[in-house]
């Protein structure tokens, strides 16, 4: 039983890390960035590339953060900024992000092919340790710790820093934010950098956990992250985290207590029930109070 709780925490942490980047862009700019799974994949492959050059794993995660963050800023300049300037509806931005996503995935495939890849042998911690009869492995435990740390850091950044205040002002009303002297372009760039960087870290960590990064790895997360975000409350960062753990615990619980064929039906059914009770999601608020 304790085994399965540990599993649920791990899966939930990965869902949450992925969903955070998704949520951040949505909460500030009201757009669904469907290139997020591609940035996630880019993170895993950036770490792979770095480690193939001899960079240690911990540093490779940092490289993935910076590279993906920069890619996120470029993504905004190329795919979203021109549409924003012309007041295009949010759906256009979504389509534009699908385009970027396809291009990015294809570029990764051109370099690495569509097959499963592996990180250099011995580059990842493989030790398993035992706590009170529970077998835990170092890598997953580190990933859980790091994921929770990043979620707390992001929450702190949004709530209590100058940049966070700027982001919240931007989320409420871009024009008013500009009139108040906030450098809106810089705030938008920061949003994309953080969102994509987090996606990149999530990709690298997930790549480490499975040791089989491949070009389509982000796709499995898309639907789940999307559901988690809606159940948590569109645009709410703590909500997305809660939604992620709710889904992972739902999955594991149904696996333990029900026939396994019903697992997804149960887990998503649970999310559905939550939406019936709270149509705006667990922590969903009125639009003006977002972020």
């Amino acid at each position: 039983m304790a085994d399965q709780i540990y599993n649920a925490v791990f899966i939930g942490s990965i869902y949450a890390l992925f969903a955070l980047g998704f949520t951040l862009v949505f909460s500030v700019l009201d757009i669904l960035n469907l290139a997020h799974p591609a940035l996630f994949t880019l993170g895993a492959f950036t770490a792979l590339f770095a480690m193939q050059q001899g960079v240690p794993a911990a540093l490779a995660v940092l490289v993935a953060f910076v590279v993906c963050g920069a890619a996120g800023v470029i993504l905004d300049r190329v795919a979203f900024a021109p549409l924003r300037r012309r007041n295009a509806p949010p759906l256009s931005a979504m389509i534009s992000s699908i385009g970027v996503s396809l291009i990015l995935i294809r570029l990764i495939q051109l370099q690495y092919g569509p097959d499963l890849q592996a990180y250099p042998a011995g580059a990842l911690p493989a030790a398993v340790f035992s706590v009170g009869g529970l077998e835990l492995d170092t890598l997953r435990t580190v990933i859980i710790g790091l994921a929770i740390g990043l979620m707390l850091a992001l929450t702190y950044l949004v709530r209590s820093t100058r940049l966070g205040r700027e982001l919240r002002a931007l989320a409420e009303n871009p024009r008013a934010a500009r009139l108040l002297g906030i450098d809106v372009d810089r705030a938008i760039a920061a949003t994309f950098f953080l969102s994509a960087g987090l996606g990149g870290i999530a990709g690298a960590l997930y790549g480490f956990a499975t040791n089989s990064p491949f070009s389509q790895m982000g796709q499995s997360f898309e639907l789940k992250a999307f559901s988690v975000m809606i159940v948590g409350g569109m645009g709410s960062i703590p909500g997305a985290v809660l939604g992620a753990y709710l889904l992972s615990f739902g999955e594991i619980a149904s696996l333990t207590f029900l026939p396994s064929e019903l697992r997804d039906a149960f887990a998503f059914g649970l999310l559905f029930v939550v939406l019936l009770v709270r149509p705006r999601g667990i922590l969903g608020q009125r639009d003006v109070d977002r972020v």
Partner: protein, 394 residues
């Protein structure tokens, strides 16, 4: 077109006269250059998934056929004529497959087609070749209804060179029982994946009939991002072995989770296990895994060793089963082409007859023949991963 046919007939007559009717393999080099130039090319169609979901397999298939064509041409081509591949992407869709088959049969007028990559595309595209009376060799379709009795009608122009799971799995189960002494298993599979759930049904039938107890069936999803939950649930049943019918991605996760929680536990799989990616990604956790295969990398057979060396030299990577099957199919076709009186598009029926007579062709898959229903006859290799290598155990 007519001129070309006469040209081909003429050229062939000259070759036949020169060689006394036997096909020759000349060493790669210049003496053949003039006669090669004189003969029209032999166009072979290849329809594979280079984009879309099937692009995990298509690219290595492309490598396999291109390597075969290059080596055949270096060795003198098809009785002196150059073998030219017409490769089209089916985009992993049925429409893409049908379009490519139409193009190749009516426009390119290929002598035969290899492909398409995925089974559901095959069921849609094969009728096009059948009605154009162009022989097809399926190189990666493992499902039912591809050859022999086809749901869509007569399919006497369709052959299959890829071993089906319904042939491989029974052998795996029998070895598991007799050699590995397995008495009980937990059966895991991805319920939303056709390959996995078909394999699951075949495993279930064979495990039951050979008296092995299935303690629990655990379904997961091909989109699952982590399988620690299902594996923990499987190990809780303490079986002798875990049977995992899934593609390579989930299989790697299953192997790693099993190894972490219960090192040494036997894991048995299907065709999804037969890829070097399993060993590269799962590392030590892949040790001991058992599966039934149409081909394995470490097969010491000289034809296979030669193929592996050439593939590595050209692509700087180990081949996989898809590459080996694609490569083999070109040689199987070559064998029939050499025996066919003429090789232009008009004599498809003669080529078909010769493909039917394929017996004991030496390929990286072993000695290869077609049975009466145009399906594979070859050895099934039950392999176990030992010291990071697929090793034969049957």
């Amino acid at each position: 077109m007519d001129k070309r046919i006469f040209g081909a007939l003429g050229a062939l007559a000259i070759t036949l006269a020169a060689c006394g009717g036997t096909a020759t393999t000349s060493a790669s080099g210049s003496p053949n250059a003039t006669s090669t130039a004189a003969k029209p090319d032999v166009k072979v169609g290849v329809v594979i998934s280079l984009t879309g979901v099937g692009n995990v397999y298509g690219p290595t298939q492309k490598n396999g056929v291109e390597l075969a064509a290059q080596r055949i041409n270096d060795a003198g081509g098809v009785s002196g004529a150059k073998l030219v591949l017409v490769i089209d992407d089916d985009q992993s869709t049925t429409d893409g497959g049908v379009t490519a088959f139409r193009k190749q049969t009516s426009q390119d007028r290929v002598v035969a087609i290899l492909g398409p990559t995925l089974s559901n595309t095959a069921v849609a595209a094969h009728p096009v070749a059948q009605s154009a009376q162009t022989p097809v060799i399926a190189i990666s379709n493992t499902g039912d209804g591809i050859v022999g009795k086809c749901d869509w009608g007569t399919c006497d122009y369709i052959f299959r060179a890829s071993l089906g799971e319904s042939t491989a799995i029974p052998q795996t189960v029998s070895i598991a029982k007799s050699k590995l002494n397995v008495k009980s298993v937990v059966l895991m599979y991805a319920q939303d994946d056709k390959f996995s759930s078909d394999g699951f049904a075949i495993f279930k039938k064979n495990l039951t009939s050979s008296g092995i107890t299935i303690k629990k069936e655990i379904a997961f999803s091909k989109t699952d991002v982590d399988l620690s939950g299902p594996v923990t649930a499987a190990l809780a049943e303490s079986p002798d072995a875990i049977v995992d019918s899934s593609l390579a991605g989930p299989a790697i996760q299953v192997l790693k989770e099993v190894n972490k929680r219960k090192p040494g536990m036997l894991v048995i799989g299907g065709n999804g296990f037969n890829t070097p990616a399993i060993i590269a990604s799962a590392g030590a956790a892949a040790e001991g895994a058992v599966s039934g295969a149409a081909w394995y990398l470490g097969n010491p057979d000289p034809v296979n060793k030669d193929f592996v060396t050439a593939y590595k030299a050209k692509y700087n990577a180990d081949p996989d089963q898809f590459a080996a099957q694609a490569y083999s199919a070109v040689y199987i076709l070559l064998d029939a082409l050499k025996r066919t009186p003429t090789v232009t598009s008009v004599l498809h029926d003669k080529l078909r007859d010769q493909i039917e007579l394929t017996t004991g062709v030496k390929t990286p898959l072993g000695e290869f023949s077609f049975n009466a229903s145009h399906d594979v006859t070859q050895k099934v290799y039950v392999v176990q991963i030992k010291n990071g290598q697929f090793t034969l155990i049957n």
